[in-house]
């Protein structure tokens, strides 16, 4: 079967063998749990508990605040110790609810009850997804109930389940698909019930042939679900690349997949939709990969959100060698942090410990080899954008479509001169965005001023 793919991209050392064959291990936290109020794109959640309150497993401890926001659910029972700023794996200090675990795991009423989603209305399903605090677990953290409520529902003809897992070293989606495929298929059926005309596609990179075979077998009798093999190439799981690979439709930064008739969700998200809707279990846990050459026993853990990474690393046998670099998320797009005493959030898919820091190299002169152009999945010219960024030439940056950059990191990866292309481009993008914002605000101010005169 022809494998679906996109133009550009890279083949890296994938490192998945380190952790892919260890079965999932469930971990119970020992210490306090930390729930940052902002674990998603959009407005931070508003706390519903105060210091000293006791909470239960499955209880909403902070509710979504505004159109794009998400509930935060407690994953343990215990007492609220504090609501204070805590450091997260994204490197930000974020207001967080700290809960002391009573180790009883007393559940809230109705938690885990079976529900027949076929008897629920579309709004009831969407509401359950919203209540459950589900966001995109692939890393972006976009609130899922918003994604499931597109402007034009009738236009959706593809529901794509993203099982690419193209980031090197990560195997959490792989373990989930291998061990709990029925959760993924169940979740997909629930999403499909929201969109009458849509066809379901489960897209998986062909470096996971066992999973592809398993899913093909399981959906053999489903009329509107298809399993498609993707070519193994980074960033195959990127939204624009995936939508193109499956449908040949071309997204840009200004368009949502729904504008082109697609709903794209990561396998982890789809499984949690199933748990929330059919099993009344909100998003309290996630799968985390612990890997990298510095880790003693690389493997995947099923952990309560809020657990400290220190406990997870310990459970994986700790570090056999002192790592030089710690990465949360994949090595291509994750964040490196100076410490690992940080809480698991909805979007942290992994902790990687590396003995060597490959990125710790001097930048040298560009030799104009054109590798960055060639590998850019969006056809941009990264070196031109970097130079525009360095020289503060924002007009030129905009003209060269710098705002389209998805930050996949391919250009920096392939650059033989080790230039920090992705880094400079993303930074310039931020500067341009804030300048545009500033300009907009100034404009509003002038307008108000004129009106008040």
């Amino acid at each position: 079967m022809a494998r679906l793919t996109f133009m550009g991209g890279i083949h890296t050392f994938d490192g998945k063998d380190l952790s892919k064959d260890q079965p999932l291990v469930t971990l119970l936290p020992k210490g306090d749990l930390v729930f940052p109020l902002s674990q998603h794109i959009g407005a931070p959640a508003k706390p519903l508990v105060e210091k000293g309150d006791s909470v239960l497993v499955g209880q909403i401890i902070a509710e979504s605040d505004g159109m794009i926001s998400s509930n935060i659910i407690s994953s343990v029972s215990g007492t609220v110790k504090a609501i204070e700023k805590r450091l997260t794996s994204e490197g930000k200090m974020i207001e967080s609810i700290v809960i002391v675990n009573d180790h009883e795991y007393t559940i809230i009423e109705g938690y885990g009850a079976d529900c027949d989603y076929t008897k629920m209305s579309k709004d009831e399903i969407r509401n359950k997804v919203k209540e459950a605090g589900i966001v995109g677990l692939g890393g972006a953290g976009f609130p899922t109930h918003v994604k499931l409520t597109p402007k034009d529902e009738g236009k959706i003809d593809y529901v794509i389940v993203n099982g690419a897992e193209c980031e090197p070293y990560l195997t959490s989606d792989y373990r989930l698909m291998l061990e709990y495929p029925h959760l993924v298929i169940g979740g997909l059926k629930i999403i499909l019930s929201l969109f009458d005309k849509a066809k379901g596609v489960i897209a998986i990179e062909d470096n996971k042939p066992d999973v592809i075979a398993k899913f093909k077998d399981l959906v053999a009798n489903e009329t509107n679900i298809e399993v498609k093999a993707l070519k193994t190439k980074y960033p195959q799981g990127g939204e624009r690349q995936l939508v193109y690979a499956v449908t040949k439709r071309r997204l840009n930064s200004k368009k949502l997949p729904a504008d082109l008739g697609c709903i794209v969700n990561n396998v982890g998200t789809v499984a949690s939709i199933y748990m929330a809707v059919a099993k009344s279990t909100p998003l309290t846990h996630r799968i985390v990969t612990v890997s990298g050459d510095a880790v003693a026993n690389p493997q995947n853990f099923y952990v309560p959100i809020g657990t400290n990474f220190e406990e997870i690393v310990e459970a994986a046998g700790g570090f056999k060698t002192q790592p030089k670099k710690l990465i949360f998320g994949g090595p291509m797009m994750g964040t490196s942090m100076f410490t690992f005493k940080l809480p698991v959030t909805k979007t942290t898919s992994s902790i990687l410990g590396f003995i060597k820091d490959e990125a710790a190299v001097e930048e040298s002169a560009c030799i104009r080899c054109g590798r960055c152009n060639e590998h850019c999945p969006l056809n941009l010219m990264p070196i031109g954008l970097q130079m525009a960024g360095i020289h503060n030439e924002y007009e030129k940056f905009l003209k060269m479509d710098g705002m389209e950059c998805c930050g996949c990191g391919c250009c920096s990866y392939v650059c033989p001169a080790n230039r920090s292309l992705t880094q400079t481009i993303l930074q310039t993008k931020q500067v341009v965005l804030s300048k545009q914002q500033e300009h907009h605000e100034l404009h509003e101010l002038h307008k108000n001023h004129a009106e008040n005169k």
């Binding site: 990191g409 650059c415 992705t422």
Partner: protein, 330 residues
């Protein structure tokens, strides 16, 4: 155990290919041609190679030192320039001239314009043209006979002895005069010419290695050679004469130019479309210089002229950003 780890922005991994590894690959690819040059023209070729390479490396090092810049030799790009220059010189060239060429390539063409990546012409080629314009007689005396037992004295002299060994015209001269050429000899390289340009076999061997290592793509060399062949077919005055066409392709510096000079990253377009445009431009220009013009240095002049157009070609062939094409979606 310290609790602090390296922090940097993503991505955190890098491909093993570096500027140095690329330049090393080019040096490796030039080994067959260099060895054949030494075999074909005798040990004096070693002396020419060593003098240009050393001249290039020492010039770059001294420049960096004097200008208090980071010392850049070590990335092998200067070695590549030196080696390419030597392969583009006749074996009989006086050593001081070869050294002058090396200094010119690095100092004038490369470093004064800002060093690696900033030169707008291929340094080795610019030096070859510089030497050709300055010393046309010396530069176009292509020895065909080896000096089999040279004394040290002959070695260091300006090559007067070798000059005596010149016999007959080069294959391109023969073609121009309407004579047939020995294609097999030309393919193997047992003909007159500069040290490294004669053996198509050795050059193609190296080029195959570069393609295999993904250092170069075939876009520029193929579009160059094919468009030149088409030009020769149309305007060569010989119609579809295989001996003439292949003779034109194998003769002179076309193979070394197409695979090693025109593909120089710094001075060739970086877009796929642009590379093909560039190749076609070179093919047509080479045809004009060789067939319609006087017939000397066609490849060198064509590539240097092409180098000057690179920024413009890049600008006009920039690919459309993904998702922003005018084509309708769906």
């Amino acid at each position: 155990m310290s609790d602090f780890y390296n922090v940097s922005a993503a991505p955190h991994i890098r491909s093993p290919i570096s500027t140095k590894s690329i330049m090393q690959d080019v040096v490796i690819a030039l080994i067959p041609a260099s060895l054949f040059g030494i075999f074909n023209f005798g040990l004096r070729a070693v002396l020419v190679i060593l003098s240009t390479v050393l001249a290039c490396v020492i010039t770059e090092y001294t420049y960096c030192k004097l200008m208090k810049k980071p010392i850049t030799p070590g990335d092998y790009s200067d070695v590549v320039t030196g080696l390419l220059l030597a392969l583009n010189l006749p074996v009989s060239i006086p050593i001081w001239m070869a050294v002058l060429g090396g200094v010119f390539a690095i100092l004038i063409v490369k470093m004064l314009y800002g060093g690696l990546g900033q030169n707008f012409m291929n340094p080795a080629l610019a030096a070859r043209v510089f030497l050709f314009i300055s010393f046309p007689a010396r530069m176009s005396s292509f020895a065909l006979e080896r000096i089999n037992s040279p004394g040290v004295k002959d070695f260091l002299r300006d090559g007067a002895l070798v000059l005596d060994g010149v016999s007959g015209a080069t294959p391109l001269g023969q073609l121009k005069a309407g004579e047939g050429v020995d294609l097999f000899k030309m393919f193997v390289g047992n003909i007159g010419g500069t040290i490294g340009e004669t053996s198509a076999l050795a050059l193609l061997l190296g080029a195959a290695y570069l393609v295999y290592r993904k250092v170069i793509s075939l876009r520029i060399p193929l579009s160059y050679i094919i468009s030149f062949a088409v030009f020769a077919l149309l305007f060569g005055g010989n119609g579809f004469d295989v001996n003439y066409l292949l003779g034109q392709i194998l003769g002179g510096g076309l193979i070394i130019g197409a695979f090693y000079m025109a593909t120089d990253y710094v001075t060739s377009p970086s877009t796929h479309k642009g590379q093909i445009v560039f190749g076609i431009f070179l093919g047509i220009m080479t045809g004009i210089f060789r067939i319609i013009g006087s017939g000397v240095e066609g490849v060198s002049y064509a590539i240097i002229l092409g180098n000057l157009l690179v920024p413009m070609i890049n600008m006009f062939t920039r690919p459309k950003t993904f998702g922003k094409e005018r084509v309708k979606n769906g």
